[in-house]
Structure formats: structure tokens, C-alpha cells
């Protein structure tokens, strides 16, 4: 297996999952992942491939101009999807879509650093790798993660409660 293929097969799934969770769009995530691999292949030597890939992918996500444009498109489509789901989707699919919406909104309430730390850790990056990517001390990664996890859980519960309240209001 060539270096190119090894790099791709080893890290592509995790990178796409990380980016999909972060961006909420699989196509966009794959675009960023492809761009990341192109840049990786241009490097003659990578000390830590995984950390490098996730760091570059994270930097690419920060491309604000692109993010803003596509986020608007994405939000519009999500809204359309949600409307369609209400009309046509089976109960299970609807519930899953609603949960995903709650999770997305909860994640969006986190600070960028907390969100990134959470998603990177979810992909198995260790604390030194996360500290490299985020530019923070290794010793503060645990604190960052604990704060991010607590806020995510609390925010998610708040989203679920708000949705339930909206449902009750609509029913009454």
C-alpha cells in the first residue's frame, strides 16, 4: 500500500466524521477532508500525521468567507428538510432529525475552542495532539474538555426541554 493510500485509509473516515460533526454537512466535510489530504501529500514529512491532518482541517474550516456562504445555504436547507420531515417523514426519522437538530444547536452554543476540543477528543486524539492543534497547554486540555462536556450536556437538555415546551404549546 502506498503512502498516499495508507494516509487516506487510516485517517479519512475519522476526519470526515470530525468535520461532519463540526459542520453539519457531509459534502462540505468531504470537500475539506479532500483539501486536507492534498495539503498533507504536499508535505515531505509529517511528524504527527493525525494531529497535522486535524489541525489543517480545523484551519480550513475557519475560512470564514466560505463558511458564511455555505452555512447560510445549509441552514436554509436544514429548515426545508425539517419542514419536509414534519410532513412526510416517519416518526423514527423525525425523532432522529429532531435529536440531531438539538445536538447541533447544543454544540453551537459552545465556545469554538471547547467545541473543537470535544470533537477532536471524540475522534481519539490524545491530549498532546489536542493541545498542539488548539495551541493550549496540555494541562488545560482536561479542564477544557470537562467544561465542554458539561456545557454540551446542559445545553442539549435545555434544547430538548424547549422543544417539549413548544410541542405542548402547539398542542394546547
Amino acid at each position: 500500500m502506498s503512502d498516499t493510500e495508507r494516509l487516506f485509509t487510516t485517517y479519512h473516515p475519522a476526519l470526515v466524521r470530525y468535520l461532519t460533526r463540526r459542520l453539519g454537512d457531509r459534502d462540505w466535510a468531504e470537500d475539506i477532508a479532500q483539501e486536507t489530504f492534498v495539503r498533507a501529500l504536499r508535505q515531505e514529512h509529517l511528524v504527527n500525521e493525525r494531529a497535522w491532518l486535524f489541525a489543517v482541517a480545523s484551519n480550513l474550516v475557519r475560512d470564514e468567507a466560505r463558511k458564511d456562504v455555505r452555512r447560510r445555504e445549509h441552514l436554509a436547507l436544514l429548515a426545508a428538510d425539517a419542514r419536509d420531515a414534519h410532513v412526510e417523514g416517519p416518526d423514527v426519522a423525525l425523532e432522529r432529525a429532531l435529536e440531531a437538530g438539538d445536538a447541533r444547536r447544543a454544540l453551537d452554543t459552545l465556545a469554538e475552542r471547547d467545541r473543537q476540543a470535544l470533537l477532536l477528543r471524540a475522534e481519539g486524539l490524545d491530549y498532546p495532539e489536542i493541545s498542539d492543534i488548539l495551541g493550549i497547554a496540555v494541562g488545560s486540555v482536561g479542564t477544557t474538555l470537562s467544561r465542554a462536556r458539561r456545557r454540551l450536556a446542559e445545553s442539549y437538555e435545555a434544547q430538548v426541554a424547549a422543544r417539549a415546551q413548544r410541542g405542548r404549546n402547539a398542542a394546547s
Binding site: S2, H12, D27, E99, A103, L107, R149, A153
Partner: protein
């Protein structure tokens, strides 16, 4: 006894502490109720956050509007295509007439069966091949070379394959038949125009059209429209190495499976297989309407995914790994490598060279006939 350190507990749960530190935290959790409660809460938060994040994985593909990722295709009116066909076919026949000596040929009522050889898509002058003489042969004058036969699918199915006998000069016959074809196409406009034509190329043209029709007719993805045979039959030594071409035009049947999108394109008829029938995880129209099928063994034309301009690079599908088709160069001397990922709408990926990794490009791939070695 220190107060519980939430960050330290999370670090311990994540297995990121050294052995000494981990032992200390474990001791605190085992001996102090506050530490134990904090650890239990942290475990719950780790599990909850993991579950919440996994809910984000259920993201549909292709939620972006097509206009944001693909350039819209410009549809030409039918008469433009017909005019182009006239120019190409007539020009091709003329070129053959000019380049070939003027022998006479004999041909029987049924065209002989010869092995199928894959050919590169035009442009190239239609080559020639000597037809074996048969007892019932009819003599053909030199001016009749370079003929073009158009065989409707229903005719080809119902009757024997066309004999290599012509009665008019090639250019005249070519124009006549092409105009006929254009008229038929115009009449069949409407619903059928919404689906682009697939072209399946086969050489030599002397292969029995009925075999071809039967083969294509059995393909679930193709509905045969017509067979156009170009080239000439000539017994001269100079022309022996040249091969006539047969062009089979077929329309795709729209595949309604969730991951398949119908589209017209170019497929190749190899010896005993039709590429369009090969088991393919994804079928989709390329930027120019070509068929994009992630299939090992097939050849792919690569385009710059940003400009959609053809790179001129053709690579062969090497193997599928999940949704990823790894591409290998046609020449063993080349160091070009690449891969494409099967999206619902297009095959997208990377073209690169190893080991320098220079000249890398984000590309889209569409299936194209493999060039002859």
C-alpha cells in the same frame, strides 16, 4: 483532602494521566465521597457528550444545492447535434476515401463475425478491414467505399444483420442516412430528449449487428436506439490493419435505486461485457453528462473539479475500498496516482504523483473508454 478537580478527573477518565497520577486519583475517588460523586458525574458527562455527538453523524449527503457545487449544463437544440453529426460523419467518410486506395470488395449477405476490439472514442478516421469473400457476394464499386449504415434497433432485432452491400456513393449515403437519423430524432424529441444519449463503441464494424443488439438489448440500463456503422471494407494490404467502427447509440433507463442517478454517457463494449452493466456502487452523470461509475477496471477521464476542465489524464480504476475507488495510471511507468470518492452526484477525488506529490489536483472523474495499448 483536596477538593475534586473536574479537569483532573476527566483527564483520568480519558486515560491521559501518568501511572502515578492515575493511582493518586483512583485513591481519592475510592476514599472520598466528593471525589467519588464528581467522578460519577464526569462519567455521565463523557457518556452523554458522546451520545449527543453521535447524533450529529446522521447527516444526509447532498444537502447543498446543485448550483453551489456543479456548473449547470447547457442543453443544445436537437438540430445543432444533428448538424454536428452530419459534419463529423461526412468528414470522416471523406477522409477515408482520400486515404485509402481504390480496391473492390466483395461481401456476403451477412457480415462475418470477428473478435471485438475496444477502440478509443473519436476523433479518428474510420479504419478499414478486408471482408472475406463469400459465394453469394455482390461486387461493389470503389466509389461505394466509406459507407455508413444506420440500423434501427427494432429492425436489427427483427432482421438479419446488414450486409456489407451499398448502392450509392458513400458521402451521399452518409448524408441521407444521417438526415434520416436526425429526422427520427426530431420526431422522438420530447420525453426522450430529456435523457442524453449513451454511446457504446465497438470495433470492428463487421461484427454482426444482431449480436450487438441482442447484447445491448439485454442490458437493464440501456435501451437501444440505433446502430451506426462507419468505415469501409477494402482488401488492400494497406487497409488491412485498419478497423471499421460501430457506434451503438442507446439511452439509459433511469435507475431508481437510492444511490443511482440516471444519466447519459459513454460506455465501452468490451469482449464479453458491457461496462455500463458492471456492478457499480454509484452511477451518476458527470459535468458534461458522462456516466460516472466507480468500477475497478474501468477507465476514467479526470477533470479539474474547480474549473471542470478536462485534465487530459485517463486513469484506470484499481480497486474499491468502501466508497473510495483508487486509480492507477494506464502506464506502469507513470507515478501518477489518485482516488475518487463516490458521491451521489459525481466521483470526486485527488490526482497526484508519487513520491514527489507534485501537481496534485482536486478532480472529478467520469468513465471513458480505455485507450488501446
Amino acid at each position: 483532602m483536596p477538593l475534586p478537580d473536574e479537569g483532573l478527573i476527566h483527564t483520568w477518565l480519558d486515560g491521559q494521566l501518568s501511572a502515578d497520577e492515575a493511582a493518586r486519583v483512583e485513591h481519592l475517588i475510592a476514599t472520598d465521597a466528593e471525589w467519588a460523586a464528581a467522578a460519577a458525574e464526569a462519567r455521565g458527562l463523557v457518556a452523554a457528550s458522546s451520545r449527543i455527538l453521535s447524533a450529529l453523524d446522521d447527516v444526509p449527503r447532498g444537502v447543498l444545492p446543485a448550483a453551489a457545487t456543479r456548473r449547470p449544463l447547457r442543453r443544445l437544440p436537437w438540430w445543432t447535434k444533428a448538424a454536428a453529426a452530419i459534419v463529423v460523419i461526412a468528414g470522416t467518410s471523406t477522409l477515408v476515401l482520400e486515404r485509402t486506395p481504390a480496391p473492390t470488395i466483395t461481401a456476403g449477405p451477412a457480415a462475418p463475425v470477428v473478435p471485438v476490439v475496444p477502440v478509443v472514442v473519436p476523433p479518428s478516421p474510420p479504419p478499414a478491414r478486408t471482408l472475406p469473400e463469400v459465394p453469394s457476394a455482390k461486387r461493389v464499386e470503389p466509389a461505394q467505399r466509406g459507407r455508413v449504415d444506420v440500423v434501427r434497433a427494432d429492425q436489427a432485432k427483427a432482421s438479419p444483420p446488414p450486409a456489407a452491400v451499398v448502392e450509392k456513393p458513400a458521402a451521399e449515403r452518409t448524408v441521407e442516412r444521417t438526415v434520416e437519423l436526425a429526422a427520427e430524432r426530431a420526431a422522438e424529441k420530447g420525453q426522450r430528449e430529456s435523457q442524453p444519449v449513451q454511446q457504446v463503441q465497438e470495433s470492428p464494424a463487421t461484427r454482426q449487428a444482431s449480436n450487438l443488439v441482442a447484447r445491448l438489448g439485454s442490458q437493464p440500463a440501456l435501451s437501444l436506439q440505433s446502430v451506426v456503422v462507419t468505415g469501409l471494407a477494402a482488401p488492400s494490404d494497406a487497409a488491412r490493419s485498419m478497423e471499421p467502427q460501430a457506434e451503438v447509440k442507446a439511452r439509459p433507463v433511469v435507475d431508481t435505486t437510492p444511490r443511482a442517478v440516471g444519466g447519459g454517457g459513454v460506455a465501452r463494449v468490451a469482449r464479453d461485457q458491457v461496462m455500463a452493466k458492471a456492478a457499480a456502487p454509484v452511477m451518476s452523470p458527470g459535468p458534461a453528462g458522462e456516466l460516472a461509475v466507480a468500477t475497478p477496471g474501468a477507465c476514467y477521464l479526470l477533470r479539474d473539479s474547480r474549473t471542470l476542465a478536462a485534465t487530459g489524464v485517463i486513469m484506470r480504476g484499481d480497486r474499491l475500498v468502501g466508497d473510495t475507488l483508487f486509480l492507477a495510471p494506464l502506464s506502469s511507468a507513470s507515478t501518477t496516482r489518485g482516488w475518487v470518492v463516490a458521491h451521489e452526484t459525481v466521483l470526486r477525488g485527488v490526482l497526484t504523483t508519487e513520491p514527489e506529490a507534485r501537481g496534485m489536483l482536486l478532480v472529478t472523474a467520469t468513465m471513458t473508454p480505455c485507450p488501446l495499448p
